[in-house]
């Protein structure tokens, strides 16, 4: 029964655990969430093996045949994104217990974990579904629950940040829905595979072009593509640390996945990139994201905000890889989904440890932290090196592939952009390292974070090194995903 319903279980288990969180006594909610997150991670690995051995998996919800019923359809790309979401979820949640106790009002903790489980449900649902309307529904589930998660920080500013995110997120989701509605009007189907076939007959119509535009803009808001990124720095800065880590590592990745899925599977490469203007616009915006995001990161005084701006730049790399439109570029983009989740997860978790001890994440609070919290800061440095793309870390691999892809196209200026982006990353990471290691604080006592928070942070930091040296797993998955995306072109 488990193997037959594997894909559906990935969504159903966290979905049903969320109301259970509210029904059970509050002290059980963390335990239940942990058990569920690990179970889901285990099932995702099982699914990965199944995809690898059987190819595309398909599940018919309620026994209704596609294209009439909702189909869950899993190939190499979904499996990779699901692995990122479930993996980060499983690492982050043991860390959450103490961090949430410190940052979230105690009587809200059951609700917090319920919202977390719903966010996990939504993100996994977006990833696994093969139905565009179902995708919208899961997008709303994940968005609404992440607004709640962000607003849960004790500081009132979190409410404003959550509200800003709500306004932008709702606009993004509405655009996506308008686009989906237009496509439905033209084809009468919502199933992605069926849509891809039927769109070919009507693709020269203005309605389809309009739908395409709405979907691309909607997805770009959700993935915070420059210049639609302005909701992100506030949301990540004022959210509870666990939420920043979880959302930074998963939510934008899933939004990039949505864009990839629509451009390459639903519309097809030929339609999406028929006009060269679209390709050059994407390249222009991603280059701007890399340069402006990195430059803005340098001038921030709050480290969480600094990392948020750096995320804007990293998303630029992913979209750049996508827009290069060759196998290496798409491999780099999907690889960077995986690697960026590792590095940003490690960095935000390390910052959460500092926030627990110091109560804030201003850069001046980090003075002398190299001595006071050596393990936390070591994890931060490893994450930072990976962000810069130093050889031997995961970040190097994706940037290397991105550079190769630009080289294959013969677009030299883009390689220069990648190098400049990395140099800017050196500057903003160095600012933090300099304060933490070379400035003395008055208080010299050690105040290392508790083990339950240190271990997840260290696991993600070491994963950055491990996947920088042994690239077989992410590279294999990214490569098969890229082949699938380009191969699925009509």
């Amino acid at each position: 029964m488990i193997m037959d319903n594997l894909i559906a279980l990935l969504v159903i288990i966290p979905l049903l655990a969320a109301p259970l969180c509210l029904l059970l006594p509050a002290r059980w909610s963390w335990l239940l969430t942990t058990a569920v997150s690990w179970l889901v991670f285990g099932l995702t690995i099982l699914m990965l093996y199944q995809v690898d051995s059987q190819g595309i998996l398909s599940y018919h919800l309620g026994g209704w045949e596609p294209p009439w019923g909702i189909e869950y359809r899993v190939d190499a790309l979904n499996a990779l994104v699901a692995l990122i979401v479930a993996g980060i979820g499983a690492v982050v949640i043991p860390y959450a217990r103490l961090s949430v106790r410190a940052e979230v009002a105690a009587d809200n903790s059951a609700g917090f974990y319920a919202a977390y489980l719903l966010a996990l449900t939504g993100l996994l649902g977006i990833t696994l579904t093969g139905d565009v309307f179902n995708l919208f529904v899961f997008l709303e589930i994940s968005s609404l629950s992440s607004y709640i998660l962000i607003s849960q920080h004790r500081e009132r500013r979190a409410l404003v940040a959550a509200y800003q995110y709500l306004v932008m997120g709702t606009i993004g989701a509405t655009f996506l829905l308008i686009g989906i509605g237009l496509l439905y009007g033209m084809t009468g189907t919502l199933n992605m595979a069926d849509l891809a076939e039927r769109l070919q007959e009507v693709e020269q119509t203005r309605t389809v072009y309009t739908g395409f535009a709405f979907i691309v803009v909607g997805a770009s808001i959700k993935l915070a593509l420059f210049p639609l990124h302005w909701w992100m720095p506030n949301a990540y800065t004022y959210a509870p640390s666990v939420v920043s880590a979880f959302l930074a590592a998963t939510a934008t990745k899933v939004a990039v996945y949505v864009l990839l899925r629509f451009l390459f599977t639903v519309f097809g490469v030929e339609f999406s990139f028929r006009s060269e203007f679209f390709q050059s616009a994407l390249i222009f915006l991603s280059v701007a994201a890399v340069l402006v995001g990195s430059a803005l990161a340098i001038v921030q005084i709050n480290v969480k905000r600094l990392l948020a701006y750096s995320s804007v730049a990293q998303i630029g790399y992913m979209i750049l890889g996508l827009a290069l439109l060759n196998l290496l570029g798409l491999t780099a983009a999907t690889l960077h989904l995986f690697n960026h989740a590792l590095m940003k997860g490690a960095l935000f978790l390390a910052l959460g440890c500092i926030a627990l001890r110091m109560g804030a994440t201003e850069i001046s609070q980090l003075r002398g932290m190299g001595k006071r919290m050596p393990i936390t800061m070591a994890a931060f440095v490893i994450g930072g090196l990976s962000l810069i793309g130093v050889p031997g870390t995961a970040g190097f691999i994706s940037k290397w592939y991105l550079a190769l892809a630009a080289f294959e196209r013969g677009w030299w200026p883009l390689i220069l952009v990648i190098v400049v982006g990395s140099l800017l990353a050196v500057v903003y990471i160095w600012r933090v390292v300099e304060v933490a290691y070379f400035q003395e604080s008055e208080d010299q006592s050690r105040c290392e974070a508790p083990l339950s928070m240190l271990i997840p942070t260290a696991v993600l930091a070491l994963a950055n090194i491990y996947f920088g040296l042994d690239t077989r797993l992410p590279l294999y998955l990214a490569d098969s995903a890229a082949q699938l995306l380009l191969g699925s072109a009509p």
């Binding site: 029964m1 319903n5 509210l22 026994g63």
Partner: protein, 139 residues
């Protein structure tokens, strides 16, 4: 809260009828327009009317917040639980065909149970929204 006797008596007269109509919409949802969502909203409107006329304290004495949150969660669990049962019976998630001896009564049973879950949750959430806004200015 009002002191107007006409309003109070009219409300007392209407509230049971509204509830009855909600139940009618709930249990005929599989045949006629309506279903769990509409029934839930109608049922909640009866309680909101009670709150408007007799005061929020009186309404929340009938349905305390802690109960409403549990009711909302239980509704979702009932919906999902039907799906899990159909999975345990060897079908896909929410495949109602297997819930009873023959597919037709299976579909009936499945839809009635699922709509009941929707109704419970929608009623609870509607009343929660009303309480949260109505209670906002109280310490």
């Amino acid at each position: 809260m009002t002191r107007d006797p006409v309003l109070k008596i009219t409300a007392k007269f209407l509230i049971p009828l509204i509830m009855l109509f909600a139940l009618y919409v709930q249990f005929h949802g599989e045949y006629s327009p309506g279903g769990g969502f509409q029934a839930g909203v109608i049922f909640a409107s009866a309680i909101i009317l009670y709150g408007l006329v007799f005061g929020v304290e009186a309404a929340s004495a009938v349905l305390p917040m802690s109960f409403l949150i549990r009711q909302a969660a239980a509704g979702v669990l009932l919906y999902g639980g039907v799906g899990v049962v159909s999975m345990l019976l060897g079908g896909q998630f929410l495949n109602y065909n297997l819930l009873a001896a023959d597919p037709v009564s299976g579909q009936h049973l499945g839809i009635i149970l699922v709509e009941l879950g929707v109704g419970l949750t929608v009623t609870a959430v509607m009343v929660i929204i009303f309480f949260v806004f109505a209670d906002r200015n109280r310490p």
